[in-house]
Amino acid sequence: MSAIAVPATTAPRSGWRQLLGFNLLSGILLGIGGWYLGHFIGGRITGANLTYYSETAGQNDIAIFLGYLLGVVGFLIGLGFANYPLKRLIGHPPSLAERESESLGLYRYFTLSTDHKVVAKQYMVGIGLFFFVGGLNAMLIRTELLQPNVHVFGANQYLTLVGMHGSMMMGIMTSGILGPFANWLVPIMIGSRRMAFPRIESFTFWLLMAGSVILITTIFFGGFQTGWTGYQPLGAQNTAGYDAYIGFFALVGVSMMLFGFNLIATIITMRAPGMTWSRLPIFVWATFATATLMLLAAPMLIAALLMGAMDRTVQTTFFIAGAGGSAYLFQNLFWVFGHPEVYVLALPGMGIVLELLPVFSRKPLWGYRLAVAGLLGIAFLSFFVWQHHLFVSGINADLRPFYMLSTELISLPTGFIFLCAMGTLWRGRIRLTVPMLFCLAWIFNFLWGGISGVFNSDVPSDITTHGSFFVMAHFHYTIMGGLIFAFFAAIYYWVPKMYGYKLNEKLGKVHFWVMFIAFNATFAPLFGLGFMGMPRRVVTYSAGFQGLNDWVSVSAYVLGLSMLVFIFNVVWSLAIKREPAEPNPWHSKSTEWQLPTPVPVHDFNTVPVFDQDPYPYGVEEKPSGVPSAVPAGGST
């Protein structure tokens, strides 16, 4: 704990002069400049060698990739990421402290911040923004599917919407829970004052934002028709819009990898005295398991995309059959990443649910070791199941029984998580607050997701359901019904501590019930549509499916409206009503609730010492719980 920075002593710039520093504005300006520079260089290189030049103007992949690359570099330099290495080179390393001053106010949120709580809030707003964009895409997709024939969008626009929706949700939401909540909670829960690598922490966030903007630029280059899986050689054949997909997912991959690395380093090395492995809050364990997946899986994705980019620019043939390559290669690489990735989406939700159930049933977590075993077991097994995405592809058909077994084995550790949830509620004193409702909904939704997953894992059954709406319904139940419901549970639960204002409980309940009912009304019929033979990602379908599709579309609109209730609640509670929250409105015994609201920049004034497990409910001797050291401010 010796490396903790002292608060700033130099006065920060004030007023409009702040705009002249290294911040989002200069980042955007340098980013745009970098894009034009890269595009110009790319054009000059390829102009000299016409074989690399594509048919139409604006479709020069080399120029576009160089534009994205230099654009991102410019953006990051503008935000100040080059300052530390450059100053270090000339012998004047800047201290962390100068960017952590509270007196900078809102300005901190538009800069490279090394305060983990600021980065967490940046993540929350940034991810919320792109989650909203991805959700709007879903609304447009459902609008097109109101009729069995093409009536609003063309086939290309439709597939671009499908691809953007999928990429945005699968890419950005990998940090959906960890971004806001692991960044905010993990250091506090383990008694640290910061992450192991604060600059990398900020770097991962701004990289994710740069990537997201790149994905949206696909609409200027003709979109892409591959969906989020980006299969080759279809990708090689796509217009330049596919370059945006590659750029986006590669940056997401780098961001995931570094984020996972940072979290692992933090959890291993930054724990306070007494915070042994068996006293880690379960959310930290879930974060640890997820971070391992992020670190180990993302490089596969980056490799696959790099090969795809080379096929498109320097005329390699990694994925071109008949020219030495194979379409199977991309599928393999993609799903070696892709299956651990869906557990990157699922595990944090489990962590949130298991963390919150003890608070709202006022009991210790039941079967702590079993829960840890479940999380680690899922993480481990998820590396050995990827070819269940390829059961009918003809690749390694002899291994299908193995992948069927390994996939079904995942239901064992998942069952541990359910058992721990069940045991925690047993004879508890259950309070149905808004976060608790979202947690219970998680259990309900994930149950259906898991049961339908058994059908997908069984090869004979999967032969019909593969590539159909059944699979679509299955993973929306696990990801939307799992990740997103846990995400909202976490928001309603921790926002009072993070922002100092409690979200309105009544509006929260309206939000929950509308969202829960509309979610099930939207996705349950999709199981039926898949069973009846409707394939995914089609712009047209049999006229006989229209009734169910219309029902699904209308339910999806209601689901979208429930998000507006949430946004209204946020604006009402955090901007208009501004009713200060109590320091511990949920009477939780976790560390973060023992700190004053708002949590000071350096979290703890003294190093906390932990001497008991994180869920001391029902223990009479130490009702105040957690760290025995006096926390900063000494409130509560």
Partner: protein
Amino acid sequence: MNTESEHHFRNVVLLWLLASVIATPIVVFVIGPGLPPGNGSAQAHGQVVDNTVLLALATPVTLAVLVYFGYVIWAFRERDPDTVVDGPPIRGNSSVQFWWLTVTTVLVLFLAGYGTVRLLADGSGGGQGPNPIATPAAFKSSKALQVQVVAQQWQFTYRFPAYGGVETHAIELPENTPIVFNVTSLDVIHSFWAYDLGVKADANPGENNIAYVMTRGPLTFHIRCAELCGVWHGYMFNSGQVVPHAQFVSWIAQQQQQYAPATKNNAPYSKTYFPQPVRRGG
């Protein structure tokens, strides 16, 4: 376990037994026969049986979780929200954990074993790559009809090597005949999905993907591409027919005659074809 616990536990078990006893037969005997993909072929029927077994197992498991949570939320809800009282500090129960692990392990191993047996029996209609492991004897005999499915953006073409390599856009199959589909692609990845036959096999460029199906009586079956293959993926569908043997013979003879000029110029029959790869300029 004290008496209050036993009382609640007994209630949960009784409720679960009641719900399962009612729901499971309904699922098996009412929903089961209507499960996809129907009884259009031996493989499709096998999938229906498989789906029924899975549902019969999934129903009590799902009900166990639902009944448990429903009961617990009702029975242990906080009746006085103004007080904060902790529940008993129960941190685990090794015999519950042991039995949970045992039961779920048995279930999972049974499912994997059962799925494997069914898969290896007749291939279940799925694509098995160039060297199928699940090859019932019927598909090796000379009675088996070889049909090549050539996918390209955005249509399927069917080629019959036993009939001079004739290529057709429509497909008819003889009834009660073992059919060997050889699925390949000329450009990107497609997937040949004959829904009513229970057949799905990805079409990969440069690869031969074999799927078996044993047809039954006359039937119209629907074919869709099940792998996103570009802009007009949504339009890549047609339908085919299973017809009596005599009708098939006359149909294929007519096709041979009609396409004779084209068949002459076709590439020689092969497991895969490599058209000139169209690559992007840069």
